[in-house]
Symmetry: C2
Subunit: 292 residues, 2 copies
């Protein structure tokens, strides 16, 4: 690749496009490729060390608190003036797929001081938000649930209808998921619910495939068939089609079955098919986390 | 919400944060919320009409050609000087999850002329790239495969191991997938392969779960059990653990079974667990597309 005169190339271990670093007019200019994985790798290896050297004398430490189960504005209300701008540590939030990430940004002269500020603030946030907090520093719900299953030496199976494999996908995104995830059924059509999971055809006829009764039977059957400790069932209407007068798009039942209990919750998710499906799978993981 | 003096609020049908539109110093300034779905909706409803009015006298039409099966640089080599900068229509490319999107950007005084330029160029690209082109204008592989299945009145089932439900998820991302997708098995552990799909334990013992033999048996069994016209099987090592001396991380077998044939291909995907899994599921969809 051609480089501007006086610029240095930055190595790209994951692709062919190099980065560029140059100083001009007292500024440091860093260009990196747009592919996220390549950019992140290059940033860590080449850009961050140089930027750290520039920022000598002040340390910024960022800690993250991961939340699920309430919206961004509800969480902001609970935190009140802790989220005021200009504070140190500063707290701000981002939201993605129902996960609210609170970023604690602490600045101090010494790293240990900034870290202590982050940890003190983190403890305060957990105290206020309670069970809404599921983890820290970028952990996914599936990671936290997986770690809890592994720690307790428990196993999981899933039976999915409207999510079509998304819950299994999220669970197995985590390296080592084979330690606790046994298997899943994607019973998208009713015949598969009947044939593979042994759901009585009459149950579907009487209550519909999108019902508490069928959802509970899906989790119960999946647990027995898989021989797992926990099983989760999901059945709903992801849309845009499939709604009836009684059952709107976004209606999803999520069930959890284990030796101690068998429970099912009804949810209404809004917006797009994608949001209904992702919301359902994430809510199923959160149900497993809080009920386990 | 507070608005700057002289600015107009833009309605946000999907959330609470309004947008802002203002004119200052002869420039039009538009601020929109960062949540992608909210931004896209607001852009279409409020920003685009205003921008269109500003650009009267020149029309830019963009057409997209969707490709899968070769890297961005291979496609650029095939297209050669068609991708030179400064041409009209201009062709540039973006890459995501193995999909290469070619953007044909044509500018003309009249919309019909720009559209004709796009269509002429599109035909030329299809002529050069052949089977690498799977669709147009943002279509996903799963949409194209789904439409082909529906058109032929054929059905699909999947049997997934290392992808853990991701293939089923991609297939059912498409609204109306129930017309052709019957069901899937996420046989993550070997016992599930044996118990649910009837894979002989000896086959796994002899060849390993990650083998052509087991992969073919997964697709064949899934097709018979589901009573579907096509079935796809995936088994591999997504990593980072699980590699052996003979079987590296990234090794994935993908099989396709239908009445006419039964075939299996060996792939080695690189980089991360996520890339191995997504690459496997996308390649499975592409195999279905090209072999159907």
């Amino acid at each position: 690749a051609y480089l501007p005169a006086g610029a240095d190339g930055l190595a790209n271990p994951l692709g062919t496009a190099p980065g560029i670093m140059a100083e001009a007019a007292g500024k440091l200019i860093i260009c990196m490729p747009g592919v996220p994985t390549e950019m992140e790798c290059m940033f860590g290896e080449s850009a961050a060390p140089r930027l750290k050297a520039l920022a000598a004398g002040q340390v910024v430490v960022i800690g993250k608190v991961m939340c699920f189960g309430a919206g961004e504005s509800t969480i902001a209300d609970k935190l009140g003036r802790l989220m005021q701008r200009g504070r140190n540590p500063l707290i701000n939030s981002t939201a993605s797929a129902g996960v609210i990430t609170l970023h604690i940004v602490a600045a101090a002269g010494r790293k240990a001081d900034a870290e202590e500020m982050v940890e003190r603030q983190r403890a305060r946030l957990v105290e206020i938000l309670g069970d809404l907090v599921y983890g820290c520093d970028g952990q996914s719900l599936a990671e936290v649930v997986g770690a809890a299953l592994k720690e307790r030496n428990k196993t999981l199976a899933v039976a999915e209808s409207c999510t079509g494999g998304l819950l299994g996908k999220l669970v197995t995104d985590v390296p080592g998921a084979g330690d606790y995830f046994k298997c899943g059924w994607i019973t998208y059509c009713n015949e598969a619910k009947i044939r593979e999971l042994g759901i009585p055809a009459e149950l579907i006829e009487e209550h519909g495939a999108v019902s508490e009764e069928v959802c509970l039977a899906m989790a119960q059957s999946a647990r027995v068939k898989a021989g797992s400790d926990y099983a989760v069932g999901i059945t709903g209407i992801a849309g845009p089609g499939g709604a009836t007068e009684q059952k709107p798009v976004g209606l999803v039942y999520i069930s959890l079955d284990c030796a101690e209990k068998s429970l099912c919750r009804k949810h209404i998710f809004s917006h797009s098919r994608q949001n209904v499906r992702l919301g359902s799978a994430m809510t199923a993981l959160n149900m497993l986390r809080t009920e386990m």
